[in-house]
């Protein structure tokens, strides 16, 4: 009898967004944000650590390129949601990350949350709770690099870089140069890994 050999742990991976794709996608999202906000007035970008923050910085940089009166560092911040998660007791302890708001705060602002992957929606729920404790924005919007589906809460993104239909057995890995490196060089890519 012939038994097919199954090599457990072997993963097939394919690149769905390259470095250049990510650049193009971010440029489009930056313009979408400006279009939805009708300009840069009251705009604040809050990245969710770790990878949401460099993405928010890149978006802020692009927004500043279209409007020279904007200082990119004055409209971008980061929002740590660790303490607000609903799964704290289901995981090993996570150390909290930094929260830094732009100097003007978030009261009466248009806050755009920025994250790398939108999946169950639970991180965004935690982020909404965290925002309530920090101030009262006029509007909260959501921008994500990748939306991979499988939502568990009634949450959707306003600006999506790429919709990726995935199976829940697959993993979506986002690598951003500010955080990730391979062989000592920064990498920018989005990869789907799944059972071969």
């Amino acid at each position: 009898m012939i038994v097919p050999t199954v090599q457990s742990g072997q993963m097939a991976s394919r690149v769905v967004l390259t470095d250049a794709d990510i650049e193009r996608v971010l440029t489009r999202i930056a313009h979408e944000i400006l279009e939805a906000n009708k300009g840069t007035e009251d705009l604040v970008l809050l990245g969710i650590p770790r990878r949401g923050f460099p993405l928010a910085q890149r978006l802020a940089h692009r927004i500043a390129q279209t409007d020279s009166s904007v200082d990119p560092s004055s409209i971008v911040g980061q929002l740590d949601v660790t303490m607000f998660r609903d799964d704290l007791r289901r995981h090993p302890t996570r150390p909290p990350g930094p929260t830094q708001l732009p100097p003007s705060g978030i009261d009466n602002k248009v806050v755009v949350l920025v994250d790398d992957v939108l999946y169950s929606g639970r991180t965004i729920r935690a982020a909404l709770d965290a925002i309530v404790d920090l101030g009262r924005p006029r509007i909260v919007r959501l921008a994500v690099l990748v939306d991979r589906g499988h939502r568990e809460l009634p949450i959707r993104a306003d600006h999506v870089g790429k919709n990726l239909p995935t199976s829940s057995a697959e993993k979506v890995r986002v690598r951003i140069g500010e955080v990730d490196s391979m062989d000592g060089r920064p990498v920018n890519e989005v990869v789907i890994e799944g059972p071969a």
Partner: protein, 337 residues
Amino acid sequence: MKHLLSTTDLSRGDAILILDTAEEMAAVGEREVKKLPALRGRTVVNLFFEDSTRTRISFEAAAKRLSADVINFAAKGSSVSKGESLKDTAQTLEAMSADAVVIRHWASGAPARLASSDWIDAAVINAGDGTHEHPTQALLDAFTLRRHWAALAGTSPGGSDLRGMSVAIVGDVLHSRVARSNLWLLKTLGADVTLVAPPTLLPVGVDSWPCRVNYNLDEVLQSGPDAVMMLRLQGERMNAAFFPSTREYSRRWGFDDARLATLDAAGGRSTVIMHPGPMNRGLEISSAAADSPRSTILAQVRNGVSVRMAVLYLLLSGDSSGEPGRIPTPILQENPA
């Protein structure tokens, strides 16, 4: 790490994780809503067999800022005064499903006994046991020192240790759990420690501790330490004549106005003066020294809340039960979206 009993148990990585977490907790204290939901539904019991002001209040504030429920238990006015044993008290708390017990006890080793017994399942945090250890005090002192050290270097304190820092711990080392906890932790973090005390107030075997010992405070101050930590003279634990008179003690080992003036005249170096409290003003520290700009005494109290929040959060938030039903799905781990 399930319990916090002693700073000797802490690796350099553990200590830096606690201090870094405390930095994030400190930021919460500056917000409009000074509360985090992280420990909602958890119960923290403050079990105090010995008097305390700042430690108990500090733990209570820390637990409340993390949304935990707090039960305060003082031995005075409880069944302990009717002769209830530690075991029975612990089992009562277990029956009330406490998740953490913050214990202060006059007997060295009481927290360790509680943690190693099967009387109670909760996380045990040592808030001072006899003359043994007081780990959260040492952590808040290290936190204060690290901020000072980073400010001098013009960097942010996150991730750093105390390498290159020289700290003098002065006074009643014999009875001091603060000195012991600090010595081990400061050593782990790379600081250089000198103990300064009359020979009668140093424990037997001090020469095997990883520090230098000097009997002359002025000599140590001349060498320009980065921090001077004054210890409280623990009259309630003194059962023998350790020094001729408090006046003589104060002149030789107290941080008085003359020593403050000498330190200020030497200028330049920004030596800080620390004290764990409560102070005997005019005995081990003069009012002028305690209220001088060099003093970090109130900063230490403030930092105490942040450090205790970090300890409670790190001990209580994760899943330590190891039940198979609680293992997260692998995808959630990869993409906590």
